[in-house]
Amino acid sequence: MAMSVLLRLDQVSKRFGGLVANDRVCLEVHEGEILGLIGPNGAGKTTLFNCISGFYPPDGGRIFFRAQDITGRSPEEIARIGIARTFQIVRIFKDLTVLDNTVVGALLRARTVGEARERALRVLEFTGLKDKMDRLAAHLTIADKKRLELSRALATHPTLLLLDEVMAGLNPQEIREAVDLVRAIRASGVTVFVVEHVMEAIMTVCDRIAVLDYGRKIAEGAPASIATNEDVIKAYLGVGYRAGG
């Protein structure tokens, strides 16, 4: 089964002064898969996301979405092209209700506010927030805030969804629910690219995993092979996780 390449990173580099955050990273995201990106703190994962989503222009290399070169495009254009994202520190619109938050996302593809509202309601039903739709976003639990940010991103009808540490700060039950949701999102036709620290989650949900260390990609492959990869283990300094327990 040949999977087409949805997103291609070709030698992407990003520097901050003397610090090299991303070092000639080459990566492919296949359509319909759930790709994971892991690495120790400071490895450059969020920076890579910021390059893809248009918040930082890369200093080197190119980024392709399907056949289109999207390197250095603005965040608004990236969203329009079909790439949505969540943020490492949740950035919901605090003074707006859950529904209004989602409507803002839905307005990207909807022609009228009414249409956006309907789409938003459908998304909230899908992510399980519909019964809280009139609550102020600021009053949600951290898990629900992340769910809201995810709903808002989904409402833009993306082809590719970038999730930045969406499981951080969740308890085991919430992590399980998040994993189920990510699977459901993929089943609905959205490709998912996940940055994560929570190992159990990323090992179970991803088809493939790429590993960054000091800005460079050091491994890529199925979760089982990543778990036993010596370079990966060394990078994490002995975070002992082996597939199969």
Binding site: S53, E76, F87, D95, D134
Partner: protein, 333 residues
């Protein structure tokens, strides 16, 4: 938006609202016939005018989160454009109002386009600078009357000339109309795409961009809408007072009062500006009469209080009177 209510409660609420609206309409429309003396009418006219100006400011500052500290420049543009066109080329003030609107849109682009790309502080600074430069330029420009100002030529009264000499009642209704126009526009805005986008930009501009919102364009739109209504207020003022000068239509104090009315009432809310105007304007008229004996110092005293109020409100209750009201209501439940 409250959390779900039962149907009979909702219907009762609608009935009460309807009654309230009807009573308010009767009161507002009949006011000039009950209070025929000039001062009560003048007071209401000032309330409507400042409520309208604050509501216009609110579109940009309250909903979209871009703080303008020099909004008087648009007021001045409206006043001076219509007045100069009237004096020099005998053009009707209504057309002059339109011209003022167009000119303020041009200024919107010139100021907003470069400064909106960056953080709100840059924009706020630019607005102060623009306001002061405008005042300075006009004060040194003989064509615009310089520091002496301009007298609006006395014409036969009537709607066409936008002047009324025997009674203030027509001014009352026009200012009421202006206030309603801004408020209705804001109400429509709240449920429109632009309204949603404005609030998203205010809440988190980067998150807004990640959802595909062209924040630059929408900030300009907010500024344009705000400028247009403020300019219309300026033309109204010129035709009402029949004399304008840089100190009355372009000073920092005017920008301060507009901000204060909006902040006091509650930024980002539909009724905040009205509330702010209803509280502040009678207060300021009262202190003016009370402190009339102090002369020039009296004017400064106003500003002392306003300045202190702005600081206190922003430190303790940034959501204004409306926010206070909501908190009281929630505590009551």
């Amino acid at each position: 938006m409250g959390e779900g209510v039962s149907r009979p409660v909702a219907r009762a609420r609608i009935r009460w609202m309807g009654l309230l609206v009807f009573a308010a309409a009767v009161f507002l429309l009949g006011y000039p016939y009950v209070f025929t003396a000039p001062f009560p009418q003048h007071l209401m006219i000032r309330i409507f005018l400042f409520a309208a100006l604050a509501q216009a400011w609110n579109i940009l500052g309250g909903y979209c989160g871009q703080i303008s500290l020099g909004h008087a420049v648009f007021f001045g543009i409206g006043a001076y454009t219509s007045t100069i066109l009237l004096i020099r080329w005998h053009i009707s003030p209504w057309v002059g109002m339109l011209a003022g609107v167009l000119l303020s849109l041009a200024v919107t682009l010139v100021v907003g386009y470069p400064t909106f790309r960056l953080s709100g502080h840059y924009f706020a600074i630019a607005t102060i600078a623009v306001g002061e430069i405008a005042r300075f330029l006009v004060a040194n420009w003989p064509f615009a009357g310089g520091a002496v100002g301009l007298y609006v030529p006395l014409l036969r009264e009537g709607l066409r000339t936008f002047e009324f000499h025997t009674t203030k009642a027509p001014y009352y209704y026009i200012s009421l109309l202006l206030f309603m126009a801004v408020t209705v526009a804001t109400a429509f805005l709240e449920h429109s795409r632009a309204g949603y986008y404005f609030r998203a930009i205010r809440a988190d501009p980067d998150a807004a961009r990640s959802l595909g919102i062209p924040i630059h364009r929408y900030k300009l739109l907010a500024l344009a809408l705000s400028a247009v209504f403020t300019a219309m207020g300026g033309t109204f003022y010129a035709q009402y007072v029949l004399y304008i000068d840089p100190e009355s239509v372009l000073p920092l104090m005017l920008s301060v009062i507009i901000c204060l009315v909006a902040v006091l009432g509650g930024v980002g809310t539909l009724w905040g500006p009205v509330l702010g105007a209803v509280v502040l304007i009678p207060l300021s008229e009262g202190t003016r009469v009370y402190l009339a004996g102090m002369g020039g110092a009296g004017r400064a005293f106003d500003l002392i209080v306003y300045g202190a109020m702005i600081v206190l409100m922003s430190v303790f209750e940034p959501t204004g009177l409306v926010g206070l009201w909501r908190r009281v209501r929630r505590a009551w439940r």
